[in-house]
């Protein structure tokens, strides 16, 4: 009986194996079908996104070609515009076209080589057109030199437009799916005409920093000074080249930079000890502490231009005055612990890079005449004279009027030479501090 039972259970086992195998095969087939369906869905999604990418890229290329073409057309119209009104319209259209083209170019999937010089050219054309527009609006006319320059820009813009169209029609325009080395062949970029004008993008050489006239100090002399400032453990941390060459040092968490010429302090910092949520001291106490710190570093009669209080720190921007005129580009930055007002940071990079011998002009326009240029919506609450950097290369003596209007606070700069309104900044007060936008 036992033997019969064993034979029957073996038969049962042998008989159930094919059933189990069939069941397993069915489950695998069902799972496989599910996987295959998912793979097809992903493929369809990938195809769809490829199509979206290519369409978006094609649209960008077409829009770039259109924008450059519009810019070139506006420059062409300038060559035949007779009235000031049409000249201004054409210049505004050229500036608008260049801004659009530069913006579209930045979104195309192109490497550094293709975009750097093209973007710089487009931005400069737009800025130049805008500067000429202001001249004509003020009653001036375009002189021969400016017209010749516009003619060369027209030629260059037409070349850029032709190149864009050729790339589109020959299929060489980017599709968005290419592998990209952002920096490949960056030196083979096209050379566009140079434009001489005053503007933030103008190609000019900045004046040599005054401190570079001092003799060059040796690394050993710099280290000796560093040890008196941040402690005997100070160690060299490198040298920076460029317009303002500096020696860098570290001592624990303290960092220091000294100019190579003259060993002036460029930067000094250490991490704050208090937490980010510490209750800040009042702005008067912070300003007094910052001024005392600046005095200890040899900076007298500095005026606070900005104060930001957040993250447990109070960060000041101070500017000096010469002959009663605030020199806005020669700023120094001081950082304090917001609660204890202990100085933890100092930066004079802008002060040292921009400071130079200046002949401060006398105002040609009186304060009342300058005030008349302001909007009738503004209520003036304060006034100062300031040398305002309009571009990295030019400054203008201005009356800085502090004003209020509709609950907002503003600083309006009116030229003290021409009486023209030049710049408006919004004064934003937050967290016991203030800054200008």
């Amino acid at each position: 009986m036992k033997g019969v039972k064993m034979i029957r259970s073996r038969e049962f086992l042998l008989g159930s194996v094919p059933v189990l195998a069939a069941f397993a095969a069915l489950a695998a087939a069902v799972w496989g079908a599910g996987q295959a369906r998912r793979a097809r869905e992903f493929e369809a999604l990938a195809d769809e996104y490829m199509s979206v990418t290519q369409s978006a890229c094609a649209r960008c290329c077409e829009e770039l070609s259109d924008a450059v073409g519009e810019m070139a057309l506006s420059l062409e119209k300038l060559t035949v515009a007779g009235s000031a009104r049409l000249t201004v319209t054409a210049l505004e259209d050229a500036a608008s076209g260049s801004r659009a083209a530069a913006s579209i170019l930045s979104r195309l999937p192109l490497g550094c080589a293709a975009t750097q010089s093209d973007a710089a050219f487009l931005n400069r054309v737009g800025e130049y057109a805008r500067s000429l527009e202001l001249t004509v609006l003020a009653g001036g006319e375009l002189n021969h030199q400016e017209r010749d320059r516009l003619a060369s820009l027209l030629e260059a813009a037409q070349e850029m437009s032709r190149d864009a169209l050729c790339a589109l029609s020959s299929g060489e325009a980017p599709t968005g799916l290419e592998e990209l080395d952002f920096y490949a062949d960056a030196d083979s970029a096209h050379t566009w005409p140079r434009i001489d004008y005053d503007g933030k993008f103008a190609e000019r050489t900045l004046p040599e920093p005054m401190c570079n006239a001092a003799p060059e100090a040796s690394p050993e002399e710099a280290l000796e000074k560093a040890r008196t400032l941040i402690g005997p453990d100070a160690q060299p941390a490198g040298v920076t080249g460029g317009r303002l060459a500096v020696y860098a040092f570290v001592s624990g968490e303290r960092e220091l930079e000294l100019t190579v010429h003259g060993l002036e302090i460029v930067h000094l910092s250490e991490p704050p000890q208090t937490g980010e949520d510490a209750e800040p001291a009042n702005s008067g106490a912070l300003e007094a502490a910052a001024n005392a710190y600046l005095l200890s570093l040899g900076f007298e009669d500095m005026t606070p231009a900005e104060l930001t209080v957040d993250g447990g720190e109070a960060r000041f921007v101070f500017v000096p005055a010469e002959e009663g005129v605030l020199i806005l580009s020669d700023c120094v930055r001081v950082t304090l612990e917001a609660d204890s007002a202990r100085p933890v940071g100092f930066d004079a990079g802008e002060y040292l890079a921009n400071k130079r011998a200046r002949a401060i002009p006398r105002p040609a326009v009186g304060p009342d005449e300058a005030r008349a240029a302001l909007s009738k919506n503004l209520t003036v609450t304060g006034r100062a004279l300031a040398l305002v950097p309009l571009t990295p290369y030019t400054e203008e003596l201005c009356y800085a009027f502090d004003c209020t209007s509709g609950g907002g606070e503003y600083r309006v700069y009116v030229s003290a030479m021409t009486g023209e309104e030049l710049l408006i900044q919004k004064l934003l007060r937050e967290n016991d501090g203030f800054r200008l936008l």
């Binding site: 996104y49 978006a56 710089a120 990209l180 920096y183 317009r243 937050e430």
Partner: protein, 215 residues
């Protein structure tokens, strides 16, 4: 695998080219600080969504409370106090503040993705390079435009920009935005050990900080 990579790239590219710039960085979000955050916390505490300190710091507690409020009020629960959420709370967002906060956060993410572990000055230097490009006519004129320019930063290509930055990176971003530029105007940097671009390697190096050479 290739199709999936193309799909991911397509998403990134399509978003970069189709989304208007105005849709980027608006509203108050995680990491923000200030009176606006304090007001939000006060409101949420009043209504029982938030039980933490009204300290003006948009941390994880505030984030959870904002999402809870958004869910209860049928808003998109993204944790960002944008115009719709602010209106539902009965507060108005100040103009300009959101943009600055957005720039700080994006810059901090780039710094964290590119230079975490580097000396603090090196992290500020990365932020300064981004801002120098914004000021340059050769590059896009916004922080987001510079950061998302295709192929410009490895942290964007490999997704590390999506990691939440630490406090050091946020502080470095603030210092860079506040004007500290340890590079003296540099527009490029690279790691000499891993860089392969011959053009980059041929540029004169102005300074080195940690693993990065700046030029």
């Amino acid at each position: 695998m290739k199709k999936r990579m193309i799909r991911a790239l397509g998403l990134l590219l399509a978003a970069a080219m189709l989304l208007p710039l105005a849709s980027l960085a608006s509203g108050i979000s995680y990491g923000a600080r200030g009176d606006e955050v304090r007001r939000i916390q006060q409101k949420l505490k009043q209504w029982g969504y938030y039980s933490g300190a009204v300290d003006g710091v948009f941390g994880s507690g505030t984030l959870a409370a904002v999402k809870s409020f958004q869910r209860k009020n049928g808003l998109k629960a993204d944790g960002i106090v944008g115009p719709a959420t602010a209106a539902a709370m009965g507060i108005s967002l100040p103009s300009g503040a959101g943009t600055q906060t957005g720039d700080v956060w994006l810059l901090a993410r780039v710094i964290y993705g590119e230079a975490r572990g580097e000396p603090y000055k090196g992290q500020v230097a990365i932020g300064a390079v981004v801002l120098n490009r914004v000021k340059s006519p050769s590059f896009p004129n916004t922080v987001a435009g510079v950061v998302y320019q295709r192929g410009a930063f490895d942290a964007v290509s490999d997704g590390q920009i999506n990691l939440a930055p630490n406090e050091t990176a946020v502080r470095a971003a603030r210092d860079a935005l506040n004007g500290w530029d340890p590079t003296g105007g540099c527009l490029f940097y690279y790691n000499p050990v891993t860089a392969t671009s011959r053009w980059m390697l041929s540029r004169p190096v102005l300074l080195r900080i940690g693993n990065h050479a700046f030029c």
